[in-house]
């Protein structure tokens, strides 16, 4: 009630001001009150302040959530034998020239990961969690995988094939794994994005394509005769009669 009276009364702002209180009503609080500097002093301090252009910061093309960890890439690293070993494994993985796909990984339970791993294993594929984005981003520049850098930003998972199995069946498999979102990859010597991979998956096998081309080539050679022979009986009879007339005229 007293506090309310103080605030409502006309002189309350004077009551609460330290400069206008007498010795009896001062309640010394537990804080350090800094002295207010004069305007001339503040102007002088601002005028004589050091002006420095700060050095450039690392670029922000890395994900915002782990910017600090990613910006350490631009600082000098202390040589760590464990990281060197992992770097070596990553280089060997890239030099193998095996096809692999990059999928974004949403939060997933361990039992679900186990199920997905089994399903992929039955089809001859392998889930790889160990190849982190920092390792791949270090080893990619200068190689043919340089264009995959935009995919190596968020939580990722790699899918490789141990037996050289066909990657065209993967998009259908991945529809049953909603936590893994396909981004792109390196398949059969080509760097493919998601759309290109889906188109590539709709293409037929090499054997079927070869057989089709062989059939087309064979038709070109004997295409006209086969169309004549396989036509209707009436048209075939008329064509044969015309062919007889032509031969007779040539002999005559």
């Amino acid at each position: 009630m007293a506090a309310l009276v103080k605030r409502v009364s006309p002189g309350w702002h004077l009551y609460n001001n330290w400069n206008f209180t007498t010795a009896r009503f001062i309640q010394k609080g537990n804080f350090k009150r800094k002295k207010r500097t004069l305007t001339s002093q503040r102007v002088f301090l601002l005028a004589t302040e050091e002006i420095v252009i700060a050095p450039p910061k690392p670029p922000k093309d890395i994900s915002c959530t782990k910017y600090k960890a990613a910006s350490n890439m631009y600082k000098e690293e202390v040589p760590n034998p464990y990281f060197e070993f992992r770097n070596k494994l990553c280089k060997e993985f890239l030099e193998k020239d095996e096809s692999f796909l990059i999928c974004h990984r949403n939060p997933v339970t361990a039992s679900a990961v186990y199920d997905y791993r089994m399903k992929l294993k039955q089809k001859g594929f392998r889930l790889v969690f160990g190849m982190t984005n920092t390792l791949l981003r270090k080893n990619i520049p200068g190689t043919k995988f340089e264009a995959l850098a935009p995919y190596l930003v968020s939580h990722n998972v790699l899918i490789t094939s141990s037996n050289g199995s066909d990657f065209r069946s993967l998009p259908a498999l991945l529809r049953k794994m909603p936590e893994f979102i396909l981004l792109g990859g390196y398949v059969d010597g080509m760097l493919l994005s998601r759309d290109n991979l889906l188109k590539y998956s709709k293409l037929p096998d090499l054997d079927t394509c070869r057989s089709e081309t062989a059939g087309i080539l064979s038709l070109i050679a004997g295409g006209k005769t086969s169309s004549l022979i396989y036509s209707h009986a009436q048209t075939l009879g008329a064509n044969l009669k015309q062919y007889e007339k032509q031969i007779k005229e040539e002999s005559d």
Binding site: S40, A47, T48, I51, V52, Y82, V108, A110, G130
Partner: protein
């Protein structure tokens, strides 16, 4: 029927025990991804260069200093409360002797025996076999006088009530070292820094080095031709009227 009810009771009793809870929790799906591939092992720091002295703990400080003049009376003499002992930067004792960790004062002030005893008891209880601590300040030597309660002003200088050590800005109060890292030292020394009557901070050799490098870099890359020292000494804007002689000496920083 009786056997069925008995078995259900036994089952229910088992169901509520700790063993059953453990089995239940194992069957529930967890939210982390298990992988037995790589362990993130951190490389341990090297402590071969560190020499631990014989006396590892903080020594006890005397409340009253021993008399300097051995006279018949041996009376302690009152001193003026001179602020010169707390004013300005510390020119000598502002570096770490052992090159590890310590507490540095950011402002000037007085430290009494109460502060020192409290820190001594706390730090000595937290020290291990591979750690040591050392004072970097003198025991209290400066006498502080106090008038009794209800006494009026005048009637000469009063008698000495206690002794204090004056401290300048930048002085290192105590050092801690050994096979220890900054995080562990911070937990121990934050109480010391908080209990100081002035601003204080916990430092390491790396922090001091970085600050020195930053200071040098700013001094070399400063684009402002008007420095505080030059402008104050030459009375730019008539500022000498509002500055003290200590601002001219220490460029407005102390």
């Amino acid at each position: 029927m009786m056997s069925v009810t008995m078995s259900t009771k036994v089952f229910l009793n088992f169901y509520n025990t700790n063993a059953a809870w453990v089995i239940k929790s194992l069957s529930k799906p967890h939210s982390y991804v298990q992988s037995a591939a790589y362990m993130k092992i951190k490389v341990a720091p090297n402590y071969d260069d560190i020499e631990i002295p014989e006396k590892k703990k903080l020594r006890m400080m005397d409340k009253v200093p021993p008399p300097v003049l051995h006279t018949a009376s041996n009376l302690a003499v009152q001193q003026r409360s001179e602020a010169k002992y707390c004013r300005g930067p510390e020119p000598i004792h502002n570096k770490l002797n052992y090159g590890q960790y310590g507490v540095q004062a950011l402002d000037g002030g007085y430290l009494s025996h109460k502060h020192m005893d409290a820190w001594r008891l706390y730090i000595n209880s937290k020290l291990t076999n591979v750690m040591f601590a050392e004072w970097r300040i003198e025991p209290p030597w400066k006498p502080v006088t106090k008038k009794g309660t209800g006494k009026r002003m005048g009637k000469g200088k009063s008698s000495i009530s206690h002794y204090v050590t004056p401290v300048k800005a930048g002085r290192i109060l105590l050092e801690v070292g050994g096979e220890i890292e900054y995080k562990q030292v911070y937990k121990m020394l934050r109480h010391v820094a908080a209990q100081c009557p002035f601003d204080a901070r916990i430092i390491s050799a790396e922090i001091l080095q970085k600050e020195a490098e930053q200071k040098n870099w700013i001094a070399t890359n400063n684009l402002n031709p008007f420095s505080f020292r030059y402008c104050a000494r030459n009375n730019f804007l008539g500022i000498k009227k509002d500055l003290s002689p200590y601002d001219l000496k220490w460029s407005g920083k102390y």
